[in-house]
Amino acid sequence: MTAFGRAIAEARPRVVAALAARLRDLDQAEDAFAEAAAAALAAWPNQAPRDPGAWLWRAALRKALDARRRAAVRARLVPDAPEPPPTPEEALMAADEPIPDERLRLIFVCCHPALALDARAALTLKVVCGLSAERLARAFLVPEPTMLQRITRAKTKIAAAGVPFEVPSPAAWPERIEAVLATLEIAYAQAYEDAALAGDTAGFAAEVLRLSGLLAELLPDDPEVLALAALVRFAEARRPARLDDSGAMVPPHEQDVGLWRRDLIAAGVRLMDRAAGLGRSGPRQVLAAIHGAHLTRAETGATPWRDIAALYDVLLALRPTPVTAVNRAVAIGEAFGPDQGLAALAQVGPERLQAWLPYHAARAGLFAAAGEAVEARAALDAALALRPPPAERLYLERRRRSLG
């Protein structure tokens, strides 16, 4: 991204949020920001102004109020125009205000539980981060018209159903913050899946990184918010090491620690320290602690499998999902031997997992460690039959070959 593009992207959440709070209309806020950004391109030929956000806020607000005035003039042809239009002078005066920080309200609107989860994630990345529908469609693996329709529907519902542009009341807070966190998790899961694909989605992960950091900055006293920001940083720290030269996936405990990004690890550790100091546990803190434990190999040279297995015990109690159970079985196998891992895996309920690739991959690893090559090969064949993406396929095929 150019310095110019970065200045605009960094200013965007604050400016769009302030516009949306003022205009009470997401479309108008986005349009005004886009116009101001286009004007900036012409007005900043060589370098950005000292405070690009303030410049964009003034320009966008002026453009939005002008557009309203024009619309009001047109509406005067109809009797009883709804509200008196602001004069250009009023518009200029309004624009001299500092930018109010409405980012949290904007995030709560876009992540309202009255919207479907996938629509929330798309809308948040579109409105807050400015990702195009085309780029979101690629990341969420849907056709572009589908993505456009999803975003339009969500915006229409916000307006028609009266979703308020407010930070939720204390009574509604736990549910609402959970909705925001779930939205970010969906967005990040999408970005993480894309790691093995072409680099055109790496920018998508960067936006989720930025968004999770923004939320941690806005809600520094919510340990689960901090933990999610840490989790995204820990996972992103390993991104440069996730594929080998042949494009095959490399699991965390085999990755070259020299490729891990120390800056992101340090940022994640700082967030986790702060979360721990708040003294309230939660599933995202445990999950982030598991990711963090893997990363300690960079210092100690060994993956702390016993710690990881113990953390998975806690996570399984908080989030009893098959995903957690399978990952726990893998950690138990590494910590206490493949027989115990296979025993843990047998408790998961295999009939629910036949179509789930990580289950077969986990079984293959445990059988191979137990010296049961026939069973391991069968599990790898079952995994490969589920048509994994290229990086994972290359990795599984190599393991298959190593078993003869």
């Binding site: 159903a161 009266g162 979703v163 939720p168 009341s169």
Partner: protein, 119 residues
């Protein structure tokens, strides 16, 4: 904004032993909530409906031909049992009231904004 809270209950909500007592309890709580909402100036109207066995449906078919049928428009596991119409500032306020509408396990409260026609 005006919202309708549509109350859907499981078809067998008040069947069996203790069903009648449960129904009386739920109805009593509806009355109390409605009274409170009216006093607060939030509730515009509302009513409970008699059972679906009392329902009759007028169906308009091709060419505008209308026929009369016994029963509700669709056979579903949930029955539409009553409604509230409220006037509150926004969806969050409407959802807060919807949470307080009494019901048994499986009760669903659908919150729908009303179309407002300009005068």
């Amino acid at each position: 904004m005006q919202y309708m809270l549509l109350v859907y209950e499981p078809a067998d909500a008040y069947e069996g032993e203790g069903g009648e007592a449960l129904l009386q309890d739920v109805v009593g709580r509806h009355m109390a909530l409605a009274e409170e909402l009216r006093a607060a100036g939030v509730q515009i109207e509302g009513a409970g409906l008699q059972g679906v066995e009392t329902a009759t449906t007028v169906l308009t078919g091709a060419g505008g031909r209308q026929t009369i049928h016994d029963g509700p428009f669709a056979e579903t596991r949930e029955h539409f049992g009553g409604y509230y119409v409220i006037d509150v500032p926004d969806l969050d306020a409407a959802l807060a009231i919807a949470r307080r509408v009494p019901g048994v396990e499986g009760t669903k409260i659908e919150v729908r904004p009303l179309i407002v026609h300009d005068q």
